[in-house]
């Protein structure tokens, strides 16, 4: 079975470590916040200028001056700090954020990512995504493995305008956890009940399979 959005988030959350500063993009990445293991502390960075993002506010706590990068009302966790946008991107560009999780339309074997524009269809802008992929070392891309029409999103070459070049090393899809190295995809784990053959079928770029591929574990 392909993973649900929540399960993708849950698997990403297993990559979090105690003391990590983390930036979560819009969509599935945002859900990762719901699965942070109870025994560790992480601090969420929101690129509009907040480190230490808390839960959504109650109706009484709503404050128009306190939002996240998705423009949603939020609260601040204990130990939070507020700063301007240049400071925020100094953290990101300076490599101070430990883990970045973001969505994409396409990823290719050379670690290129396309996530912000479909010419003629969707032109909304890159927001902070180009800064995030250029500035972070540790990035996990979350997306569905293929489109609704069965077209692979894991390609030998991205077809859409790039968000970043050669910057992606890990991709978690609804079918597989994949590492990118030396111009190839490497299959690390598969979703429970999904066969290696199914993953090969829906991966257009070169995919390396070494030994037995374990199923992802959800406790």
């Amino acid at each position: 079975m392909a993973l649900s959005r929540d399960q993708i988030a849950q698997r990403v959350a297993q990559e979090l470590q105690d003391g990590f500063y983390v930036n979560l993009g819009i969509g599935i990445p945002t859900l990762v916040a719901n699965f942070i293991p109870k025994d560790i502390e992480v601090m969420l960075q929101s690129e509009n200028g907040l480190l230490g993002m808390g839960a959504f506010p109650t109706e009484d706590e709503v404050d128009a001056d306190l939002i996240n990068a998705g423009k949603q009302t939020v609260t601040m966790a204990a130990g939070a700090s507020i700063f301007d946008s240049a400071e925020s991107f100094a953290m990101i560009r300076g490599g101070h954020v430990d883990l970045t999780v973001l969505g994409a339309f396409e990823v290719d074997v050379n670690g290129n990512i396309a996530s912000y524009m479909i010419p003629g269809k969707l032109i909304k802008g890159m927001g902070g995504a180009m800064d995030l992929v250029a500035g972070a070392d540790n990035i996990i891309v979350t997306m569905t493995h293929a489109s609704k029409h069965g077209e692979s999103k894991l390609l030998s070459n991205c077809t859409l305008p790039l968000t970043g070049k050669g910057c992606i090393k890990k991709v978690l899809t609804d079918l597989a956890f994949i590492e990118i190295k030396a111009g190839q995809f490497h299959l690390l784990e598969r979703a429970p009940g999904v066969s290696v053959a199914e993953i090969i079928e829906l991966t257009q770029g070169e995919l390396v399979i070494e030994g037995d591929i374990p199923e992802m574990k959800f406790s």
Partner: protein
């Protein structure tokens, strides 16, 4: 009367000198911390051919979106423009020119503009459409592109509190691009919720020193919320 007193008492006075085809840098992220009354004044003035530099372009009928129906903006430099149907129509028809700029690059362009730095190298955008036509150079084996600073004829800024000398304090994430915009205007106009006397703000807590501010006006704000998300009480 002090030469440092920046307070003005009408919006007409606040935006005096703004003329067609000028460049305006605006603070704000989405609808959070936007100089909403200064934007209304620009609409009221009917100034046209403007280049706007702002992370976003408001929504239909609020924020910078107010300047779209009368086609007052000819070019916008922004990182994300997704919430606005009229914007999309003008962009697709070519009436409005859009320069999509990564958010961090946009912030740094303002910061550099205000600090007298003409350009800077960044890894952001290398190998993407953003890099087209820009100088590329390697430092320590990594590729970077040259991005130029931005200075505005005007900067329009929203702060929380100020003293009469234009020392500014921002509130929560309404800070965003505002302190950067404040440094990068030839004329910087700030609207605030409260103005106090010099000496009443703790110098250690001032986010933007008054040297960057030319005009200051006190007002009230709607503070519209774009995505009101809540959790049930008691959780």
């Amino acid at each position: 009367m002090s030469g440092f007193d920046k307070v003005v008492y009408s919006y007409e006075e606040a935006m005096a000198g703004l003329t067609d085809n000028m460049t305006i840098i605006a603070g704000g992220f989405g609808l959070c911390g936007i100089p909403e009354n200064l934007i209304s004044e620009i609409k009221h003035k009917g100034t046209r051919g403007l280049t706007l530099v702002s992370n976003n372009c408001g929504v239909d009928g609020f924020g910078l979106g107010l300047l779209l129906p009368d086609r007052q903006i000819s070019k916008i430099i922004a990182s994300y423009v997704g919430e606005n149907a009229e914007f999309e129509r003008q962009m697709m028809s070519g009436e409005l020119s859009v320069e999509l700029t990564p958010q961090g690059t946009l912030a740094e362009k303002m910061r550099a503009g205000g600090a007298g730095i003409p350009a800077f190298y960044t890894a952001t955008g290398v190998g993407t459409p953003v890099a087209e036509g820009k100088d590329e150079r390697q430092f320590n084996g990594r590729d970077y592109i040259l991005e130029e600073a931005i200075v505005g004829d005007f900067a329009i800024v929203k702060a929380w509190k100020a003293d009469r000398y234009g020392n500014l304090v921002f509130r929560k994430t309404a800070r965003n691009f505002n302190p950067l915009a404040a440094t990068a205007g030839k004329i910087t106009v700030v609207e605030v919720e409260e103005i106090v006397e010099p000496g009443q703000l703790d110098p250690d807590e001032i986010h933007t020193p008054g040297i960057y501010v030319n005009r200051l006006i006190q007002s009230t704000f709607e503070k519209r919320i774009e995505q009101r998300t809540t959790r049930p009480a008691g959780e």
